[in-house]
């Protein structure tokens, strides 16, 4: 295999983007969308790992390079695990409960791409964050 043009180089670049797209380079992180998955024991036992992988696959499939899936600990809503928080730039974070893996495409398509939170999955946050 031999690269013979700029187009071929760019093709290779795109093909292997997935290898490095988890890593950030430079300081331009303003448009970064964060998807936080609660991965405490309660989360894992309710299927958070499957949810997490479903998110990674879905955003990979849709080519959403600015969306990062990040694992976090327990926030105390063990009754509604798996919990997922979506942080869109410039918007208030939205917390979802009982996000089994089949709910993932909905959140990605409606909220992350469409900008409209999936109302029926939202958990009400009734505590203040310091």
């Amino acid at each position: 295999m031999s690269i013979k043009s700029m187009d071929e180089l760019r093709k290779i670049r795109e093909e292997h983007q997935n290898k490095v797209n988890l890593r950030q380079s430079g300081n331009n992180q303003e448009d970064r969308i964060e998807i936080l998955i609660g991965m405490a024991t309660c989360g894992i036992s309710s299927g958070a790992r499957e949810t997490l992988n479903a998110f990674v696959e879905e955003i990979g499939k849709q080519g959403l390079n600015n969306a990062k899936v990040i694992t976090v600990g327990c926030i105390g809503y063990c009754h509604s695990e798996p919990t997922v928080q979506v942080n869109m730039p410039g918007q208030k974070p939205v917390l979802y409960g009982t996000v089994k893996k089949d709910k993932v495409p909905d959140i990605v398509n409606k909220h992350i791409i469409g900008g409209q939170p999936v109302e029926n999955l939202i958990l009400k946050v009734d505590f203040e964050r310091a």
Binding site: R13, V20, R23, I70, T71
Partner: protein, 549 residues
């Protein structure tokens, strides 16, 4: 299943020395044992620069930066962080001044003032995977140059960028390329000088270990610009890791057709050979380097003729330093104007420094030109170890001079450093505190240049030896004022009459310590029992501080 987590582990020489290879092995074993091998990937990267706190482990996309990670910490990183999403707090960096825990790399004072151009991929990519380099935009500069720029345009772009030689001399790179290009010869050569010889300097090694393709790509661009079809990397044999990664990178580039015949479908063909140096300091001088490449003794020649006119086997040859090359791809892709917007009026871009000695954060830093010593030593470097007082900083290695407190606010660029009696050099920056004796420091450097003098010209061969003997006499308390006079006279004689840069700069440590620390010389002359501090061997001090913690 797609990977959701990248665990970047530093595989630079510094972190390897503190067992980062075992960290990698353990991480891989535990990830496999837990059944997460499809979800988390361990990547061995180049140097992060924060060698003081190595081994460094960074988790992406979480953007969490762990320091001083031992092989035993691998279990917690996998079980807590990767599986359960809980940060392992005890491995986070604790900022000593405010005693605050910092988990993001960009929030650490060490990284805040840095701007990474030459080191852009170090600590970010796997240097043994060309596809990762390409995924971050690698080889696009070469493609752009070959498919859409003429040779003159490439030379002009580099000229307009204001890039100057990062090996120490500071000669404008674009002009070097232009002169070599103008020569009428059907065979020309481009050489990468990777014979990093300054004690305490490891900038070039880290670039080659962490991002070898940036140098290979730049050499191909340079070869195209000047009309050379062959490149040589002259690297010292003491850099085994850099050599092995370079060889891997060269093979991968050949496989992808980025080296070889008709690159990017153009009529330009180019390949690179590696030539090993035996570690002689003088071989960093370009004519000595070329002699060594051809199998002759590593001794310098009279200039002119310059290598650009008559170099390797008598053909026009362009010799550039590793760091200089590492800047080239960025200049071609992002443009000369972008590069020229960084730095000072006459020194553009950034400079990599190897920060060493009595500073808290030993490591590799890249800063925009024009930053002050104070910012590097006290903000990035975190100040002096053990709460002691700053005394001086030596730049330019054995060829440079000491810079004292009164000059700490001098903006760092080629010309201002010369005006205060030192030089940029290749980027070694050794910080000394109040317990260091400057006469002994000068003696240490003289011992180095005396050993490394190739013996070709008399002033350097004999002059450095005599200067060393006088310094030895002074530091053993037997010196007289007549010795000081002789030392001074010799220093200027060697500086003025030596053949190459080695001899011309060897007296600098003596001249600058005589100027700034006259009283320390006098303490030896008048008072036999007053050797202030212990500064006999920098290497000894370095070992001491490594075991302090």
């Amino acid at each position: 299943m797609a990977t959701r987590s990248n665990i970047l582990v530093c595989g630079g020489t510094g972190c390897l020395a503190s067992e980062s290879d075992k960290v990698i092995k353990n991480l891989e074993l535990i990830i496999k044992a837990r059944g997460y091998e499809n979800e988390a990937r361990v990547i061995r990267t180049g140097c992060f620069g924060f060698c003081e706190k190595g081994p460094i482990v960074k988790i992406e996309p979480d953007n969490v930066f762990y320091v001083m990670v031992g092989p035993k910490d691998a279990k917690d990183i996998v079980d807590e962080h990767i599986i359960k999403g809980r940060t392992v707090d005890r491995l986070l960096y604790r900022e000593p001044k405010a005693n605050e825990i910092i988990n993001r790399q960009e929030d650490m004072p060490f990284y805040k003032k840095q701007l990474r151009v030459a080191l852009r991929n170090c600590g970010l990519i796997n240097p043994e995977d060309i596809l990762e380099y390409i995924a971050f935009g690698g080889y696009e500069a070469l493609g752009k140059a070959l498919t859409s720029m003429t040779r003159d345009q490439v030379v002009d772009e580099v000229k307009r960028s204001g890039l100057r030689g990062r090996g120490g001399g500071g000669f404008p790179t674009g002009i070097k390329w232009e002169v070599t290009k103008k020569q009428d010869d059907n065979e020309k050569f481009i050489i990468c000088n990777a014979d990093e010889g300054d004690p305490g300097a490891f900038m070039d090694r880290s670039i080659l270990e962490g991002d070898p393709h940036s140098v290979i790509e730049a050499m191909a661009i340079g070869g195209y610009a000047i009309g050379a079809s062959k490149g040589i990397i002259y690297i010292r044999a003491e850099y085994p890791l850099a050599i092995s990664r370079l060889n891997t990178a060269l093979n991968q580039a050949r496989e992808q057709g980025l080296l070889g015949k008709n690159i990017f479908g153009s009529d330009f063909s180019f390949d690179i050979n590696i030539k090993y140096g035996a570690g002689a300091f003088v071989c960093g001088e370009e004519t000595a380097l070329i002699n060594s490449c051809t199998g002759k003794r590593g001794e310098p020649n009279y200039k002119p003729p310059y290598p650009a006119e008559k170099g390797y086997w008598g053909h026009p040859t362009c010799v550039n330093n590793v760091e200089t090359f590492a800047n080239i791809p960025q200049i071609i892709t992002r443009g000369a104007d972008w590069f020229a917007s960084i730095g000072t009026e006459k020194s553009k871009g950034t400079k990599v420094f190897a920060l060493a000695g009595k500073v808290k954060n030993v490591g590799l830093v890249e800063v925009p030109m024009g930053i002050t010593f104070r910012e590097i030593i006290f903000d990035i470097g975190g100040g002096i170890q053990g709460g002691r007082k700053f005394k001086a900083v030596q730049t330019g290695g054995p060829s440079g001079g000491v810079i004292t407190e009164q000059y700490l606010d001098t903006p760092i660029d080629y010309d201002s450093l010369i005006s205060i009696g030192s030089m940029m050099g290749s980027g070694g920056m050794i910080v000394m505190d109040e317990t260091d004796n400057m006469v002994k420091i000068a003696k240490f450097y003289l011992e180095f240049t005396m050993d490394e003098s190739c013996g070709r010209c008399t002033p350097c061969r004999i002059g450095t030896k005599r200067m060393y003997e006088i310094l030895d006499k002074i530091t053993s308390g037997k010196g007289t004022m007549a010795d000081i006079d002789a030392l001074k006279q010799l220093a200027y004689m060697v500086k003025g009459s030596s053949l190459c840069g080695l001899g011309q700069t060897a007296p600098n440590p003596v001249i600058s310590t005589l100027k700034h620390f006259w009283e320390e010389y006098m303490a030896f002359i008048k008072d036999v029992d007053n050797p202030r501090g212990e500064g006999r061997h920098i290497a000894k001090n370095k070992i001491k501080f490594a075991t302090e913690k």
